[in-house]
Subunit: 344 residues, 2 copies
Amino acid sequence: MTGSVTLHDVARRAGVSLATASRALNGSANRVVGEELRERVLRAAAELRYSPNAHAQAMARGRTNIVGLSLHDIADPYFSAVAAGVMREAEAHGLLVTMASTERRPGAETDYVGAFRRHWASVVIVVGSRTDDRAATDQLAEELAAFEAEGGRAVAVSQPRLPVDTISIDNHAGAQDLGRALHELGHRRFAVLAGPTELLTATERVAGFREALTRHGGRLDPEHVVPGPFTRDGGYAAMRELLDRDPDVSCVFAVNDVMAVGAMAALRDRGIDPPTGMAIAGFDDIATLRDVNPGLTTVRIPLEEIGALAVRLALDDGVERPRVHRVAGEVVLRASTPRLPPPR
Amino acid sequence: MTGSVTLHDVARRAGVSLATASRALNGSANRVVGEELRERVLRAAAELRYSPNAHAQAMARGRTNIVGLSLHDIADPYFSAVAAGVMREAEAHGLLVTMASTERRPGAETDYVGAFRRHWASVVIVVGSRTDDRAATDQLAEELAAFEAEGGRAVAVSQPRLPVDTISIDNHAGAQDLGRALHELGHRRFAVLAGPTELLTATERVAGFREALTRHGGRLDPEHVVPGPFTRDGGYAAMRELLDRDPDVSCVFAVNDVMAVGAMAALRDRGIDPPTGMAIAGFDDIATLRDVNPGLTTVRIPLEEIGALAVRLALDDGVERPRVHRVAGEVVLRASTPRLPPPR
DNA sequence: CCTCCTTGGGAAAGCGCTTACCGAGACGGT
DNA sequence: ACCGTCTCGGTAAGCGCTTTCCCAAGGAGG
């Protein structure tokens, strides 16, 4: 990096000292620079296109305006919605967001939190379902603790069991509500495209759904619970698998919208036209998917708001921490799960 | 930030000097540290959970491993796809991505490039259609020039007229190909949901489409070209507007997929069932929307690859710059534009 | 036995900025 | 007229790290 203009240059050009130049430029607290000198400094800075070195400032000040954000995959609309919320709120507070995708690589989060720690990020936000991998969780917890010990603030989203402020999406209750709603529509025989068995988010949704059926009456045979990846292709494959088992089922719950869309495609490829041949429901209410046809019944999670909330939580000097903030989902019934005609 | 462990602490604990500790940790070039001392230093670092201060390193080395990425809206699947490509490639090169959303605020890009410049980012990538706002473009150009003058490398995506390496999506040719393909399917009377008139990307697509019709025969009345925002709701509104004009049209081209989906929703709300009542095509081939029903005819743009390419371009020490890299789109015909039965 | 090289550790000079501290001048109160 | 006080500019001490330069010790060659 050559040729960059430093504060020194500005000071020289304005004919003042470094201190005065610095004070003039960032209006240092409880120190006023005379109008004329300030004018001169600002002019010199503008003429030289001076741009302060953020690292030097970080060093001198001992902190930065960086938010570190770790998520699984920015191309996944679930995460990009959360990221949008984080960025919006960060922008409002003059913070810059540094983002890293784990691509679901185990241990990646720990690495990235380490990187954010090296950058003296003031805030770190970790979003994405924890797995049941105990060792990885412990390592991440340790790294986050080290980060907070150094004065940073961390917030976890969908990651319980971490020793920091946490935003917890109520998957269990949401799935339960969904199960009840589907039951009320007349459905009794269900299947579940369950997602990865090691992902807490997925298993919670399955558990909540199952509980609703148990409570209100409804059948969910073990062989109608098909695991698979949390993706569109995962939903597609799981649905095929399910159909191969030729199930006696009227409604399928895919544990997220992206999978539900894949599942619908699988149904069509088998000549089954949803929702006529099969009702289907998802989870998340991904904005981009609100116009699929038939409209997808789902549980709305305020993803963008969750991202914004994470930033606010980090910036808010709460008294006692870690805090846990629960966010509820809301069932949205659409055309993909029509009311079942009463059995004759 | 208190309590953070510094290299000094590590050196003291290992009983060596700062210099030796530094050399031991990053295997300094052409200087070897004795096996035993190195061992001691590494152990001390691990025991103390030492994490080097990235800013201090940046200062001392005069460069960073940061990629600055400016885009319009990370929640938009178009941008999140590009971002995913950038992050994948950045990760592969050990770079960290700092991202900023302009929310289409004019001038925001310039501000963000300034922020990246302050951070001594080694690479800056600016993605998103330039508008016809000449002044804003000039300012951005100037800021990018300053950034490169300081040794940084900038790449623009979809932003012609900037004095840096540019990846240019061939909107014109893509739309032209699409127009021809639709013509071959038998369509003759078209409408276009044109997006924002000041957005180059949108106008290029409209122009290419129009040119194909002119060349091969096909009608596109001026009042059947409806402008509007580049979003789902923009597509919805534009389609309503179009329907209100009661057009004699068999096929609508929405200049991006997100708008096309909104347009389909508008059709349905008016009791028109695509593609029966009206064929519809989009542009981009957004992955999340590949399963909408009916399948959306579109022009595939390799968005993720473009993001990755941008990073590679920045890292590649090209001889002569700025270079322009054109990326072509590919027409993908799906069910939303069925072949029109020949007129009897 | 002396000189010259090689090996490897340490001291210290920055990198660009902020900020405590210092000091000079102006001003008003007594 | 003197002193306390206030205003405002400058000096310099870091922030944590890298890297150049110096130097000591040991070995090889004459």
